[in-house]
């Protein structure tokens, strides 16, 4: 266990102020702006796509938009920060902890952030930067606990006692486990469970050029298709066998040029997943180095559990978006769409009452983080609303 900020050695020494800060305070905005500029400009961060994306998201124009939305939304109500927020971020998307921390900081909370002990090339410079920048703002520095530890329940339990909100960024097993460790009766919890994401596409309205495949590549192969929002299932509307064959041929070729960094175990995992699906669903499949897919008979044959990432796709024919919405479950997060009109989407959304899908985005945007996530407006969820009736 290592406490990065503030200058204390044990969790027993944690003292956080009772008073919270005002939303969108000047020092916080400055701190975020400095982070953004450094991440975007300095070469040591620029070599990591995730850090650049983070820097871009933190830029002041975006933060001001968040501010505006927040105040517009709460124009007629009185809101206060909930107090102390304990963030538990996953060990393998290095930047999530910062998105979560920043949103909470913006609305005025004090924060305890658990950071993984996994050392990756991108997390080290990011942590150094955050600690160094926090030091410029005394009040932020002393009220932010950045703590690095492994899987010690005793630490999680102790930190949970402090918080008014506990934010758990998945996955399912982690959520279930951490929920066995109590929080204060007055505290609340935000959880981001394991999710599965789709692309719905109509090939009749799509030009299969590099720009299209680049977007698809980005939405699927970023994080090696292991993120919740990674495109894993492709739903074809109104496509002929021939159109699909051409699509797969061209996509395979495109990814072959990109040559993403797959590892040996990944190929075996794909073989296992495809073999299992072949045995259970008795369907045709195509196994290839980078892009492998299995043609499922219908949406109900989708098996989220068996999907292992690393370039595995489920191919399904659907009649229209309505069919997909009717089928969707709470496990479904992002729907990327391509070659489908806004009207078609709105019509389908209006006529169905989908169980799932927290996001619908144009192809190419699946990996963009948003302050509204998994159905939560995160900033609002980290505030309490005072009802006044006099």
């Amino acid at each position: 266990m290592q406490i990065l900020t503030p200058d204390i050695n044990t969790i027993k020494e944690i003292r956080l102020p009772k008073m919270t800060r005002e939303p969108f305070g000047e020092d916080v905005l400055q701190f975020i702006d400095r982070l953004s500029k450094k991440l975007r400009k300095e070469p040591k961060y620029r070599e990591f796509e995730e850090l650049v994306a983070l820097g871009f998201w933190l830029r002041s124009s975006n933060i001001l938009k968040l501010k505006e939305n927040f105040f517009n939304k709460h124009e007629k109500s009185i809101v206060f920060p909930r107090g102390i927020v304990f963030h538990i971020a996953p060990s393998n998307v290095d930047t999530i902890f910062l998105y979560s921390f920043v949103l909470s900081l913006l609305v005025g909370n004090h924060n305890i952030v658990r950071i993984t002990q996994n050392h990756t090339p991108q997390i080290e410079p990011l942590l150094d930067l955050v600690v160094q920048e926090l030091k410029n703002y005394n009040k932020l520095y002393s009220s932010t606990i950045l703590i690095r530890y492994g899987h010690e329940d005793e630490i999680t339990q102790e930190l949970s006692k402090h918080c008014d909100v506990r934010v758990i960024w998945g996955g399912d097993r982690t959520i279930n486990h951490i929920r066995t460790l109590p929080i204060k009766p007055t505290a609340i919890e935000l959880t981001f469970a394991d999710k599965f994401s789709f692309l719905a596409l109509n090939l009749n309205n799509i030009k299969l050029d590099d720009s299209f495949f680049e977007k698809l590549y980005r939405d699927s192969f970023t994080f090696m298709q292991n993120a919740c929002s990674s495109v894993k299932a492709l739903c074809f509307i109104d496509a002929t066998q021939e159109q699909k064959s051409i699509f797969w041929r061209d996509f395979k070729e495109y990814v072959l040029q990109k040559a993403p960094q797959l590892e040996g175990k990944n190929q075996i995992d794909k073989l296992i997943a495809l073999s299992s699906l072949a045995i259970e669903k008795k369907r045709e499949l195509s196994f290839d180095t980078y892009v492998s897919y299995i043609s499922l008979g219908n949406l109900s044959e989708i098996d989220e559990q068996k999907h292992c990432g690393g370039g595995l796709f489920y191919e399904i024919d659907i009649k229209n978006l309505t069919e997909l919405f009717m089928y969707s479950t709470k496990k479904h997060q992002t729907l990327s769409i391509a070659g489908i009109s806004k009207e078609e989407l709105q019509e389908a959304l209006k006529t169905t009452n989908p169980q799932g899908f927290d996001r619908v985005v144009a192809l190419g945007k699946a990996m963009e983080f948003n302050a509204t996530w998994d159905g939560f407006e995160i900033m609002s969820s980290l505030c309490r609303v005072v009802d006044v009736d006099i």
Binding site: I268, S275, K282, T289
Partner: protein, 355 residues
């Protein structure tokens, strides 16, 4: 045809002969399993192996080994024995179904190979394990099966550890005294040989003089690799502490009966007549040339009761050469370099994974 192979010495077939022989056997086994195992037939269909022409050993569908943990794959209704993997690192275990003919072939294969390293007579045997593993019926695992299997090649068996895995020094010294200057057989699992035998002897400052001992050990290099003990270090340390000079390592897996690879005097694992090794590129899965590191594929013509004749493992290795090992044995000889690295799961789904 299969029976004939046991009338030769186990490392006698040269490249061309061996390939022709294995190719014929694999073709008929593939057809057999296709007709008798529904899941296997479906796999061939889905992966596009129906009506495929098999011209070389590399052309066959290699079943990923882990699949035996998820499905009960078999090509017979007359199962007499079910083997399970030890499953120490994973919650699920492989289930391998043997009928009488396959079980008999497996025994024959083991005898043939062991006789090549031992004499035909049974040797006094020191088992580097505890008798307790045989008592606990629930834990009658790969470990017990391994000890039982090898016990057949020895007589006057003595166990080196008590129930608590403590060194039974008196028993060991008595054994040493009784068979002074005689050939003896020792067997144990690699990690236990290291931890409970070698390290304990060293701790007690006890040097043995089993100069004519022949030690076979198998399984579980993983733990030793974590402690950074190499093959050479292992052998050298054992020789120093016990006097044993002949040390042979086994490589194999419960999922493929008949694939028993034993390391020779020069430290290389050898493929017997009825089994073969291929190495594939971890990314493209294309076959690799000798001396290139990749994923090990195992071939054996023994599995007839279940479709385990061509398996893709999760082990890394290299083929060193063929027919020309200095030990004189024919066939490919190779080295195992460890397990495939766990794919770094870069996603948002496992904050506390590994717990």
């Amino acid at each position: 045809m299969i029976e004939d192979i046991f009338s030769f010495l186990p490392y006698s077939l040269e490249k061309k002969q061996k390939k022709d022989f294995l190719l014929q056997e694999l073709k008929s086994l593939t057809t057999f399993h296709q007709e008798h195992c529904e899941e296997y037939a479906q796999l061939l269909k889905s992966f596009g192996y129906v009506n495929k022409e098999y011209n070389s050993l590399e052309d066959f569908f290699a079943l990923p080994v882990r699949l035996f943990k998820h499905y009960e794959l078999k090509s017979t209704d007359e199962v007499i024995k079910t083997l399970t993997s030890s499953g120490t690192t994973s919650s699920s275990v492989s289930k391998i179904f043997l009928d009488k003919p396959t079980a008999m072939l497996q025994t024959k294969a083991l005898i043939k190979i062991m006789q090549n390293f031992l004499s035909k007579e049974r040797l006094p045997m020191l088992i580097l394990d505890t008798k307790a593993i045989l008592k606990d019926r629930k834990k009658f695992s790969a470990r017990a099966a391994g000890v039982m299997g090898l016990s057949n090649f020895g007589r006057k068996h003595i166990y080196a550890f008590d129930e608590n895995m403590n060194l039974d020094v008196d028993a060991i010294l008595e054994f040493q005294e009784s068979y002074k200057d005689k050939k003896i057989l020792l067997f144990g699992f690699t990690f236990m040989v290291w931890k409970y035998f070698y390290q304990e002897l060293k701790k007690h400052n006890l040097k043995l003089s089993l100069d004519k001992g022949i030690l076979f050990h198998s399984g579980g290099w993983k733990k030793l690799q974590e402690e950074a003990v190499s093959d050479q270090t292992f052998n050298k340390a054992i020789t120093q502490q016990t006097g044993i000079k002949k040390i042979h390592n086994f490589y194999g897996m419960v999922e493929q009966v008949g694939s028993i690879f034993v390391s020779c005097e020069h430290g290389y694992l050898h493929t017997p007549n009825f089994a073969e090794i291929l190495v594939r590129d971890p990314l493209t899965l294309q076959p690799l040339a000798f001396k290139k590191e990749g994923i090990i594929e195992l071939i054996s013509i023994i599995p007839k009761s279940y479709p385990g004749h061509v398996l893709l493992s999760e082990d890394r290795g290299i083929i060193v050469g063929e027919d020309d090992c200095q030990c004189g044995r024919k066939g490919k000889y190779f080295q195992i370099l460890g397990r495939l690295k766990e794919a770094e799961s870069r996603g948002c789904s496992d904050t506390f994974e590994g717990k």
